[in-house]
């Protein structure tokens, strides 16, 4: 992927995360930046869960394959 592709991807991810964080923060009725950041952190945390699970499974499979191949 070229730097232009990464720019587009970053833009999409920033817009996506901003929209979701705004939505979560607005309903809580507070406009404090700390609340916004707190929600952003939690959204990233929830998004990171499947990535972490996938990474752990991938590492385990690779390790198992390496052990099997000796």
């Amino acid at each position: 992927m070229k730097w232009g592709d990464w720019l587009i991807v970053s833009l999409f991810l920033i817009i996506g995360l901003s929209c979701m964080t705004m939505s979560a923060t607005w309903m809580m009725g507070t406009n404090a930046i700390s609340s916004y950041l707190h929600n952003l952190f939690h959204i990233c945390l929830w998004g990171g869960v499947p990535i972490t699970v996938a990474a752990v499974i991938y590492v385990m499979i690779r390790k198992w394959k390496n052990e099997r191949n000796g």
Binding site: M1, V9, L13, G16
Partner: protein, 472 residues
């Protein structure tokens, strides 16, 4: 066309799948929120109307109606009470409902059956209310009903706010998915695009092109197959080029000799009859060489095209080897070489083409004689693990180890500079290898440079192999 790209197709499919999940989930979440809010108001209305209906049913005080009306007004609860005919007999501040008017008959019938009423009512200003009606049930029957109304304006506003937030979160999720899909589709389609470009370059003749992929899955296997194909094509093209270069060189050399010496003879440029005889001998030798080369090339082209016909039969290979030795004995004697054979007793018959086997052994013996100046040439035959093994050993110039790989290539010669001295066409071993493999055998060579070479042929013995004596 932009849609005709694997990245777009893959990305579009993932996004479509995402939307197929996201939109119904959005609808379900909206229903859950709406249901939750409406249920809250409904249960509140039902509870209140049941309380008032119970109070009216159990109290005998005639002023109870007025008291309830006052309490409701005080508590800002919107309600109206009807008698058993459906006529409104008491009400709080409700703009469009007047005392004395009648509620629809079907609602009264439902109340008389003891059922609760629930409906959404909109007044003249468009404001919506959730109405819950409970029958006033006494021992004498249904005396009427209590209808409690709650404005849905607040709920609708809250729901609209929730919907807006859900929409915003949905848009966020869509962009997030778009970003992840972009990476995924690019990463997944990159190897395919790389292979497509490599295949196109290979098709255009750039056979040095290779696909650089480290993965070990099916994509990696495909890349390896493309690389192997390019390598084979490159090898084929190089060997074809080399073959044509060699063939033209090898054919031109004897023709030049014949042409040159024939010219000398025509112009009578010789000094003696002896010299003339010598030139004629050279022309004769070169014409034989040319004829043999054309014969070898003809054989090879037939093998390449698969047009060679093998006449397979049960052959006593000892006889074949003895025949080949007899045919090459004279040539060996001329060089002072001795051909020895060592054959194991009762060797089984081999299912092969006798004439082609003779050609194989004559070629191998010719080769051994050509490159040996002294010593013996040995042929040995034995049976080992249901295989017939034949070894041809010479004490010739040998083959350097790094050249052993190419010894069966067409026109390959170990001593290129002395090829005319040794003679031969450079095609003999190539023909031997092809003929051996055509008959299901294998050939291996080992050599010590300067000391000699050893060719070992292996043929599988089929289940029906018997010895010659058994056959008799």
């Amino acid at each position: 066309m932009i849609g005709n790209h694997i990245v777009v197709k893959l990305g579009g499919t993932i996004i479509l799948l995402f939307l197929i999940v996201l939109l119904p989930i959005g609808f379900v979440i909206d229903r859950i929120f709406s249901g939750f809010y409406y249920n809250e108001v409904r249960s509140q209305n039902e509870q209140l109307s049941a309380q008032y209906a119970n109070a009216l049913a159990t109290t005998i005080n005639p002023n109870v109606l007025t008291m309830i009306e006052m309490m409701a007004n005080f508590s800002q609860i919107k309600l109206f009470i009807t008698d058993d005919t459906g006529k409104v007999i008491a009400k709080t501040e409700i703009p469009d409902i007047t005392q004395g008017e009648y509620v629809p008959e079907e609602e009264i019938l439902d109340l008389k059956d003891g059922a609760k009423i629930e409906k959404v009512y909109a007044d003249s200003s468009g404001q919506r209310f959730l109405v819950s009606g409970t029958p006033i049930v006494t021992d004498q029957g249904v005396l009427g009903g209590v209808f409690v109304m709650s404005s849905l304006e607040g709920i609708d506003l809250s729901l609209q706010k929730v919907r807006n937030m859900l929409l915003l979160a949905g848009i966020g999720a869509f962009f997030l998915a778009l970003g992840v899909t972009y990476i995924l589709s690019k990463k997944l389609s990159d190897p395919l695009i790389q292979m497509e470009k490599a295949a196109r370059k290979i098709a255009k003749g750039d056979l040095e092109t290779r696909v650089e992929l480290a993965s070990t899955d099916e994509i990696g296997s495909l890349a390896k197959a493309i690389n192997d194909l390019a390598f084979d094509l490159q090898r084929y093209r190089d060997s074809r080029k080399e073959f044509f270069a060699n063939i033209s060189h090898e054919l031109r050399t004897p023709i030049t000799y014949v042409e040159g010496y024939a010219k000398v003879l025509i112009d009578k440029l010789y000094h003696s009859e002896e010299e003339k005889e010598q030139y004629l001998e050279i022309i004769h030798e070169e014409s034989i060489r040319l004829s043999r080369m054309i014969g070898d090339l003809f054989d090879l082209s037939k093998i390449d095209e698969g047009k060679i016909t093998l006449h397979l039969e049960w052959v006593d290979i000892t006889e074949v080897v003895e025949g080949a030795i007899q045919k090459t004995k004279m040539k060996a004697k001329e060089k002072g070489l001795n051909i020895q054979s060592s054959v194991q007793d009762k060797l089984p018959l081999l299912h092969c083409d006798g004439n082609r086997m003779t050609q194989i052994f004559i070629n191998l013996l010719d080769n051994a004689i050509r490159y040996s100046n002294n010593g013996d040439i040995c042929i040995e035959m034995w049976k080992e693990d249901e295989r017939l093994k034949i070894g041809v050993k010479d004490s010739g110039i040998g083959i350097p180890e790094k050249e052993l790989l190419y010894i069966f290539d067409r026109f390959y010669r170990v001593e290129k500079s002395r090829s005319r001295q040794f003679g031969g066409t450079g095609l003999g071993l190539a023909i031997v290898k092809d003929l051996v493999e055509l008959q299901g055998g294998t050939i291996q060579v080992s050599s010590i440079y300067g000391k000699g070479s050893y060719f070992e042929l292996t043929f599988p013995l089929s289940a029906g192999s018997n010895t010659w004596e058994d056959e008799i």
